[in-house]
Amino acid sequence: MSLSYKPIQPLLQTSGKSSSRWFSYIGLGVGVLLLLCSVQMFVNIQKLLKEGSIRKDGHDYVSITKIITNETMGQPEKNLFHEPDIEDVKKQPFIEGVSPLISNDFRVKLSAGNMLPFSTDMFLESLDNAFIDTIPPNFQWQPGQQEIPLILSSDFLEIYNVFAPGQGLPQVSKETAMGIPVQITCYGRAFEENQFSGRIVAFSDRVNSVLVPKSFLLWANEQFGNKTTLQASRLFLKLKDANDPQLIQYLDAKGYKINRDKTLLGRNKIILQAIFSGLGVFGILVVILALMLFSFYLQLVIARSKESLQLLLTLGYSPRWLSKNVSGKFIPVYVFIVLAALGCTQIIQWAFHRFVMFGRPELSSFVHWLVLLIAVSLIALSATVNYRMVKGLLNKLY
């Protein structure tokens, strides 16, 4: 049907002063801009804080120690966590999981072999794998295995790189450090030397330690150590919220100290994401309000043009065709508004990348594809909503 809408258009009273139409256009523009910017910022935060995230599966991971006071100094049994302490911590409802940091019960020396003239007495610790943020598949050890995989705290490498130049040692990158084979010497009960080779397989932002597979440390403590009961100087906790007041009260009462600084980054990320989620939700609300306002305007147009539309239907015009054309008339306006908001988002993203983030490589100067997808979906959504509403109103005219 090569039907022309041109002779029909003057029958619809769309002109007239209609402030609700203009308010809805402005509202739609502002709402879409808010929504698109929020999504873009959300994506930016994800990209920027991907590396440093302490939270895993939506939980906080913190370590606690007993507070060492002048009274308890020199009494390891008072400064270590014993089995009953650990059981008590496990019982607390606000603590999702506990893993003691088991440390070596024998002397350990670490040297960098022939490559770096560097040697130091060391400590080794181990933790349940679920509590470690970066676990490569080769972080495993079986009895008889000569090579021990190590997970090193990122902070330790940073400290090394700070003092290395003063000691005449070369500074190393993470990648190089992972390539350097290290000698691990464990001293047994009779001070006999047991040689192992070690290799750094990952760096952890969460655990301030030198981690080895738990299977190795349990085996080595049994082989070389003296104690038989489990003791740990640190406990790793898996928490829903590190700021839970109940938790703080419990730790204060017990005289435990929480290592908090590591949760800050994760917490900032959550706060930033919450702010932009809030802004995004606000944007969606404004878009919905604008669409509703526009629907009132459309209802007004149809009410004012009721007689003409009724006559067109009487003459045999299809309600589907009329709805498509009446609502379709506003699509170019919608496309323009959404594209304008998209353009603004693009400018904001470019400026953010260039002037606030100084061109950080994790970010792009262009909007994320998700933002484009949302823009296209919004056009489709508004067109569909208007079409369905007009069709509903026209069907009532029969």
């Binding site: 002779p7 006559l311 045999g316 015009y317 069907n395």
Partner: protein, 213 residues
């Protein structure tokens, strides 16, 4: 196309009306080529009947079938199709777009399903004597002029049945005859049927059947 009426009566009429009527409460069957003249004094439901047949109103009991499909079961889209392709109407109250010219009014109908080229509008207007009024807004035209435009409008589309409700109420006999002549030419061109409701007998309509409402 087959048009069947089964025992219809406006819901606002009392049952007694069925006794003396040739339409209310009766079973009737019409098809292409039938020229039905319905003679009905005022208040007997002439306009109601035309509105029921064109499905502008559905407040009647009984059933109306087009090709064995009950009119009450037509979707709005199917109604639009019916009005565009098979059913044309001349309504007593005319219904033109007041702000549009007569030509624009006719073109809006013609483009919907063109049976004739646009030139035919001027030709028909010429025959009915309103050619000079084609560019005048409908609201500025006399009832007589509007009525002739409405007749032309009904003849610009294809149809199997033409429904007419007092189509000549504002015309003198000479103009009415001219209009009837044009209508009959167009009806024969389409081998269509006519349902023509009028207050009294009009002797220049070659009816095949008279029914008193």
């Amino acid at each position: 196309m087959q048009l069947t009426l089964k025992n219809i009566l406006p819901t606002y009429f009392e049952q007694g009306r069925k006794q003396n009527s040739g339409i209310w409460g009766k079973d009737l069957h019409f098809s292409n080529g039938d020229l039905i003249k319905i003679v009905a004094p005022s208040g007997t439901g002439k306009t109601s009947l035309i509105h029921f047949l064109y499905r502008m109103r559905i407040d009647f009991e009984g059933s109306i079938f087009y090709d064995n499909k009950s009119l009450k079961h037509f979707s709005n889209e199917e109604i639009a199709n019916l009005r565009r392709n098979q059913l044309s109407v001349v309504l007593q109250d005319m219904r033109l777009f007041g702000e549009q010219t007569l030509f624009q009014n006719l073109e809006i109908k013609r483009q919907l399903n063109p049976f004739h080229p646009p030139e035919k509008i001027a030709e028909m207007a010429e025959r009915l004597g309103i050619a000079t009024r084609l560019n005048a807004p409908a609201k500025n035209c006399s009832y007589g002029e509007q009525q002739r435009a409405v007749i032309i409008r009904a003849l610009l589309q294809p149809f199997d049945f033409l429904l007419m409700d007092e189509p000549f109420s504002h015309l003198d006999e000479a103009n009415a005859r001219k209009a009837m002549e044009l209508i009959m030419e167009e009806v024969q061109l389409r081998r269509a049927g006519v349902i023509f409701a009028e207050l009294e007998r009009v002797d220049f309509f070659p009816a095949t059947q008279f029914i008193h409402l």
